[in-house]
């Protein structure tokens, strides 16, 4: 058995802390993957939802949606659903963080000499890994219903990168809200309501047709910028018209900006919340 000697000097402490964040975060990431392997039910369910929505929206509502220039609605819908799936990070992050936070094992983590950021970092990393797997079936079914990557390989890789970055950002929003929630039930209700966020955006329907104030709200919704960016990078019809708000008119820059902004705000809040929250 090793007895660890701790160097008390400041520089050594900072170096130790840095190594602790990476090492402990990695260990916590491993914990989430092990849990996933043992209880994959919820994961499978959340992955099958966007595919169901694609078929539902694409074939039921799709017959009533006419895009300018006669572009195919289902091809328009697929990138939007990919983004909506990425935005599910809020819901998933909230559920997971709130449920975890009320488990006894959190007391052990809080009394171990481990990095205070490792628990939320491990969860965020697991959210991104899950999203990376989850994008595959949706893209495949999208391909089957007529969606194509038309902008070349490089930009398409960029689009998937953007989707994962956005997932990471929304996961942090969710983790913070989940840790701050008074109970698991409260997190469940609020998390469920975030299902509506993509509806108030250009994910499913072009914002150009919305009435004035609603259009403004929708176009400042980060989901609209990311949707427009993905459509642009995949080489799909963006349906962005003149007079769109700045984030939608400059979607790629805006998407990266939104993601970084959300993280700049939510990462410190989540880490602090984790450190403080006790039953």
């Amino acid at each position: 058995m090793t007895i660890i000697a701790y160097d008390e000097s400041k520089g050594a402490r900072v170096a130790l802390a840095g190594r602790a964040v990476v090492g402990d975060g990695w260990a916590m990431f491993g914990r989430h993957l092990q849990r996933l392997r043992r209880a994959p039910g919820l994961f499978i369910l959340t992955q099958s939802m966007p595919v169901t929505m694609l078929l539902f929206f694409g074939y039921v509502f799709g017959s009533a949606v006419a895009l300018a220039g006669g572009a195919d609605y289902r091809a328009y819908l697929v990138p939007g659903l990919l983004v909506a799936t990425a935005a599910n990070g809020i819901m998933a992050g909230m559920f997971q963080a709130a449920a975890d936070n009320h488990r006894g094992v959190m007391d052990r983590f809080r009394t171990l000499p481990m990095s205070r950021a490792a628990v939320p970092i491990g969860q965020a990393a697991s959210e991104v890994a899950q999203a990376a797997i989850g994008l595959v079936p949706l893209a495949a079914v999208g391909y089957a219903v007529g969606w194509r990557i038309e902008g070349g390989f490089g930009p398409a890789v960029g689009a998937f990168g953007l989707l994962l970055l956005f997932r990471l950002a929304t996961a942090w929003v969710g983790i913070w809200l989940g840790l701050a929630a008074k109970s698991e039930e409260a997190a469940g209700q609020l998390g469920g309501a975030t299902f509506m966020l993509p509806m108030l955006s250009g994910a499913y329907i072009p914002t150009a047709g919305m009435t004035g104030w609603l259009r403004t709200v929708a176009e400042w919704n980060p989901i609209s910028a990311v949707s427009a960016a993905c459509r642009e990078l995949f080489g799909n019809e963006t349906a962005v018209t003149a007079g769109a708000a700045w984030p939608v008119a400059h979607p790629v820059v805006a998407s990266v900006g939104w993601s970084l902004l959300l993280m700049a705000v939510c990462v410190p809040l989540a880490v602090r919340r984790y450190d403080k929250s006790t039953k």
């Binding site: 058995m1 090793t2 007895i3 701790y6 402990d24 260990a27 849990r35 488990r103 052990r108 009394t111």
Partner: protein, 316 residues
């Protein structure tokens, strides 16, 4: 101060909104001893443990664990403690082995070393057969054993156990007790909370009765018993004789008697070393009281507990 205390608190206070959970708790646990915090539900035992293990911060007073201030340097405290909480503090979705390996990694045990230590502890706590099953399929006793094992990956200087045997069958309880004794023999200081007097009596060298957020009485189990004296009790044949029996017992004991009408029993605590059982029976008989059972014995810790922490109007 010449004695080194593994746990030392002065005037420790904690409020939760309107509830004043701790109202100035003083503790001094010498290194290498087992100390039991004894008290009813809501006395503040768990709050004390959560404060000492850095899970919550105090609203007043100070506490040091192995010399480190829990409020000012929680990181240093976390390096020297092991904690087994009241809720199983292990992950139910992982197997026992996965849990121990995870905690080993988080405590900087290297890969092979951590795996070996995890296997060692699984064997020590009789969990080898269940090692690869998810912990949620474990029985209460198995879970508690795993929980304790998880606190011992790196031998802690101070081990905190919050009601380690509540709800366990006698066999599981004995296994936990054995493990705690082994640890103490190797020099680990143990602070445990319990509602079971037997547990405090059997394990601890030092008992602190907690009542209403304060340490009301402190001492060894024997000192507590000596302090409260002996317990004289008489059971009578009919309800009508109970007040008279109480009066006789009260006079003999030199203390006010307590009635237990359901059992038709009257009892009193005496600190008079000359009082004998024959004398009690003779006096009761002389008063014409139909005695069916009488005892004079050292009090159980239950009675110590009841006497020292019960609402005052019930106490002799």
């Amino acid at each position: 101060m010449t004695t080194t205390y593994a746990v030392h608190s002065e005037g420790l206070e904690k409020r939760f909104g309107e509830v004043h959970a701790l109202r100035g708790l003083d503790l001094a646990v010498p290194e290498g001893t087992i100390c039991a915090l004894l008290g009813p539900n809501g006395a503040g035992k768990s709050t004390a443990v959560r404060l000492l293990t850095t899970l919550i911060t105090p609203d007043g007073g100070t506490a040091r664990v192995a010399g480190h201030d829990v409020a000012k340097d929680p990181a240093a405290v976390r390096r020297v403690i092991g904690v087994t909480g009241q809720d199983a503090s292990v992950d139910g979705d992982l197997s026992g082995r996965e849990n121990l390996r995870l905690f080993a990694r988080l405590q900087r045990l290297r890969g092979a070393e951590g795996r070996a230590r995890a296997d060692e502890l699984l064997a020590e706590f009789g969990l080898v057969d269940a090692a690869d099953r998810p912990v949620r399929t474990y029985s209460g006793g198995m879970r508690r054993r795993l929980d304790l094992a998880a606190s011992l990956l790196i031998r802690p200087r101070v081990l905190f156990l919050d009601e380690p045997t509540t709800g366990l069958d006698p066999a599981s309880r004995n296994r936990i007790w054995e493990a705690v004794r082994r640890l103490a023999d190797r020099g680990t200081t143990v602070l445990l909370t319990t509602q079971y007097l037997e547990e405090a009596d059997r394990l601890a060298g030092h008992v602190v009765l907690i009542d209403d957020g304060r340490a009301s009485v402190t001492g060894t189990p024997a000192e507590l018993k000596a302090r409260i004296g002996r317990y004289a009790e008489a059971v009578v044949a009919e309800d009508a004789a109970l007040p008279a029996a109480a009066m006789v017992l009260g006079q003999l004991a030199g203390a006010e008697a307590v009635l237990d009408p359901a059992r038709r029993a009257a009892g009193a605590v005496t600190t008079d070393p000359t009082l004998t059982l024959p004398r009690i029976v003779r006096e009761l008989d002389a008063a014409g009281i139909p005695v069916v059972d009488a005892t004079l014995r050292p009090p159980t810790l239950d009675e110590v507990f009841l006497r020292l922490t019960a609402p005052k109007e019930l106490v002799a």
